[in-house]
Symmetry: C2
Subunit: 379 residues, 2 copies
């Protein structure tokens, strides 16, 4: 580990044509900053579900094996043959990982904008954050408030902007209340705080009594447990009460998306005046934004024709709303960094620890409410 | 049967709280036309899949029994208990059937617009067409060309406007080519004629070699058979060649909608320059507009996040585009009634014949390429 930032370790994920995943740490030179760039010593970078997608690819992590040394660990695992087609675009390409992170600016380019960041604690988005040093455009850095640590700001893009993006999408598409699944997640807790603050009704769907409790403790009003025998009735009652007609689903696979649409249809028909064999005219929307269950989505179409299920991603959404509105959302994140958008971490790992099999099993579970942070400069 | 039109037979579908479907013919008085209305002697009304949905409801037609007399036949069948919930809106309500039809105006209200229709052959939409006489607003009648028979105009709303609506949706949502399933249907043949005429590439998905042949004979260029062992390869090749990123699916159930999205994604990635674990940025759309397979839709999400599957219905679409554009579509139907929008019928039935079990088995199959017409005044 080079303290001067000229070289540093970087986590890489490689899927070989042979079908083997290899995760390792490379010692790479830090690119010299151009005039508009800065070098950041990364001190906190979260393991988001979206990072895990790139990190493991389609590999079956139950086949994972550890090799290498303590300082230079290597993890290998097998990608099932039928999953290799989806990996075609990344074969034999050693890929850096880590969507977002935060750290301290230790070197800058010659421009005033870059120089102004010297010594500041900044948050960043742009990939390759599982690195000790990251050269990045000054304009892509968000300066954190004076009293904020890198850990405070490590997760200030993906989850805060995703949860704000859900509320923004709800408003733009003419809905008045929201449904969220895997709702006790870090993201789900943020969404509850936003909705409580903004007076928006939110139906939280969780998968255990413990998760329900987590949300009730932070003030969530509508929490339904999909493992309860009364789930469909509970969900329908909450949909009737809130009038929610848009849902964001982190799970993807299974029957849940269809069950939500069916419940929304029952709620819509409570106010219908005439029978229509085509179902209600009320448009019902589910956006799938995650892959907690990568299995097939099974939709029992018992809810007419006024419905849609589709993918939703933060970056295309931000592109769509444009720079001004995206900046408005970012400003709110900074203003509420230690309240609405505070993240809590289960564990802080070094880069080497992130490649230990017990830790991989831990964050690989993507368990709701558990969130891991990497500090690439942890010693 | 009253030749003066004061009374007439009307087909009714009733689902009782007990779970029994009853289809029968009622002798009902013809409502007197108000100033703006006319009375039409219905001579041709098609049995569309959408009519069958109302006619049979969720009944299991393998349990159908005939009773009553030759002139007043009655058909009963059982609705499976688990399907009764979806029927809640129509229980114990005797419902007239028949979305569209055509006939001759035999009586009019006092307004000039109504009087101008006396003796004309008109096409109509608005339900209750499986009736000998239909009182309807003059403004809801479309006057057919002099040389057109009621049979020529009987199907001039649903299928012609639906196929035109698909092309219109494709253009409005920024796609350049189309995919259609159950593509050898009457509707599918119309869609081929429109696309050939307008120079739009159309990928036809059929379920047999015979259906492929029907389409090739009318000039279809891209026909793929979902029962062929090479289906996925054939579909993908056609999607690459055409660049189609929107599909209209009449089937609904099963894996087809997901397979289409997966093929579109492979096609989109042919031109991608960098790997994205979120899939391509190309938005891929499937609209489900039918229920040929009422079973669950199973979607293997192997195509990133830029996708949507949703319901599509003609009437909400026409509402959305507004009166001017809807009128433009209707004008094209009339202009091309005997060419692009000509329908061919397998059989013409009287109302009594429509209630005979062998005929019910015939049109109940909803077999691609077979289309039945009812002439309520056939003697």
């Amino acid at each position: 580990m080079a303290g001067d930032g000229k070289r540093g370790l970087q986590l890489r994920s490689l899927i070989k044509k042979s079908g083997e995943l290899e995760i390792s740490l490379l010692d790479v030179p830090t690119p010299e900053p151009s005039a508009d760039e800065v070098v950041v010593r990364v001190e906190a970078t979260p393991i988001n579900p979206s990072d895990i997608g790139l990190l493991f690819g389609a590999a079956d992590m139950s086949t994972a094996k550890a090799s290498g040394s303590k300082d230079a660990p290597v993890v290998t695992a097998q990608v099932p043959e039928k999953a290799m087609r989806a990996m075609a675009g990344r074969l034999d390409e050693s890929m850096p990982v880590g969507n977002e992170g935060a750290g301290v600016v230790i070197k800058t380019g010659s421009s005033d904008a870059a120089k102004a960041l010297m010594g500041k604690t900044v948050a960043m988005i742009g990939g390759a954050m599982y690195s000790q040093f990251r050269t990045i455009r000054a304009g892509d850095c968000l300066v954190l408030p004076e009293d904020a640590t890198p850990a405070d700001g490590a997760s200030c893009f993906v989850n805060p902007l995703t949860s704000l993006g859900m509320v923004e999408t709800m408003r733009r598409e003419g809905h008045k209340a929201l449904v969220h699944t895997a709702a006790a997640s870090n993201l789900g807790q943020m969404l509850n705080k936003i909705c409580l603050k903004d007076g928006i009704a939110l139906v939280n769907i969780v998968r255990s009594g413990e998760q329900a409790e987590i949300l009730r403790k932070i003030g969530a009003k509508h929490v339904v447990d999909s493992t309860a025998p009364t789930f469909i009735e509970d969900l329908t009652a909450a949909l009737i009460e809130t009038g929610a007609t848009i849902a964001f689903d982190a799970i993807g696979g299974g029957k849940l998306a269809g069950q939500i649409l069916a419940g929304m249809e029952v709620a819509a028909n409570k106010t219908a005046t005439a029978y229509s064999r085509y179902g209600s005219n009320v448009h019902k929307q589910v956006y799938i934004y995650g892959m907690l269950d990568p299995g097939p989505t099974e939709i029992n179409r018992t809810f007419g024709f006024a419905w849609s299920i589709g993918g939703w991603l933060l970056f295309p959404f931000l592109m769509k709303i444009g720079a001004t509105d995206a900046a408005r959302l970012r400003a709110r994140v900074i203003a509420e960094l230690k309240t609405t958008f505070a993240s809590h971490y289960t564990q802080v790992l070094s880069l080497q620890e992130a490649l230990q099999l017990p830790h991989i099993a831990g964050y690989g579970r993507r368990a709701t409410g558990e969130k891991y942070l990497i500090n690439p400069n942890k010693t």
